[in-house]
Symmetry: C2
Subunit: 126 residues, 2 copies
C-alpha cells in the first residue's frame, strides 16, 4: 500500500495560502470546525454584509479549506481538518527543497539525524 501524497501543484498552493492570508477567513475556519454554522449565522459575527461573508466562504471553499452541506434551507459550513495538513505539506515541500531531499514526506516526525547538507540543488533552475 503506497501512501501517494499527491504533490500539490502551484495553483493549489496559491489558493491555499491566499485563503489563509486574511484574518476574517482564518476566523471563519476556527468557527466552523464543528460544522454547525450556516452562512447566515456566520455572517452575524462579522461587521460586514452577508454577501461579503459569502464571498469569504467561497474563497475558502475553492481552496478546499471548507465544505458546505445543505441542511434544509441552510448551508452549513464545515472546516476540513485535513486542509491545514495540506498547508503544512506545502510548507514541507518548500522547506524540503533546501533541506537536501526533495521527496521527504508531510509527516510530522522530522527525524533529522545526520543534518544531510547537500551542495547540489541540481534541477532547481527555472
Amino acid at each position: 500500500m503506497v501512501v501517494e501524497v499527491d504533490e500539490l501543484n502551484d495553483e493549489t498552493v496559491d489558493r491555499l495560502f491566499h485563503a489563509l492570508a486574511d484574518t476574517t477567513r482564518r476566523d471563519i475556519l476556527r468557527r466552523c470546525v464543528r460544522g454547525e454554522l450556516s452562512v447566515s449565522r456566520l455572517a452575524e459575527a462579522y461587521p460586514m454584509s452577508f454577501a461579503a461573508v459569502q464571498k469569504h466562504v467561497a474563497v475558502l471553499e475553492r481552496a478546499g479549506l471548507v465544505a458546505k452541506q445543505r441542511s434544509g434551507r441552510e448551508q452549513l459550513v464545515r472546516t476540513d481538518p485535513d486542509a491545514v495538513g495540506r498547508a503544512r505539506q506545502a510548507l514541507d515541500e518548500l522547506e524540503s527543497a533546501w533541506r537536501g531531499r526533495v521527496d521527504r514526506m508531510a509527516c510530522l516526525l522530522a527525524e533529522d539525524p545526520g543534518s544531510e547538507e547537500n551542495d547540489t540543488p541540481e534541477g532547481t533552475e527555472r
Copy 2:
C-alpha cells in the same frame, strides 16, 4: 525559563501567508536559501522585469521571509529558515483553536492521547 513563543498577531500572519501565496515568491524562497544571489541574478531567472522581482523580494522582506545584505554594489537575498517555522506556528495556532486547548505550542509532536473533545469553546465569540 519560560519559552515565550511570541504569539503572532493577525497582520503578521496576513503578510506571511500573502507572501507565500505566489508561485514566483515561493520559488524565490527556494533559490535564496544559500544567500548567494543578488536581486539582479535572481531577476534573470524570471520572465519579468527587474523591478517586478524587486517588488516580490520586498513583499517577502516585509513578511520576514527574506533578508537583504549589501555586498559591494549588490544586494544579496537570503531566505530566513526560521520563517517557515513561523508559518508553521501560524497553522498550529489556527489548529489549536479547535483542538481543545488554545495555548498549545508550536512544537511538532502532536502527542494526542485522549482525543480531548471539548464542548465549550468559551471565549470564541466575537
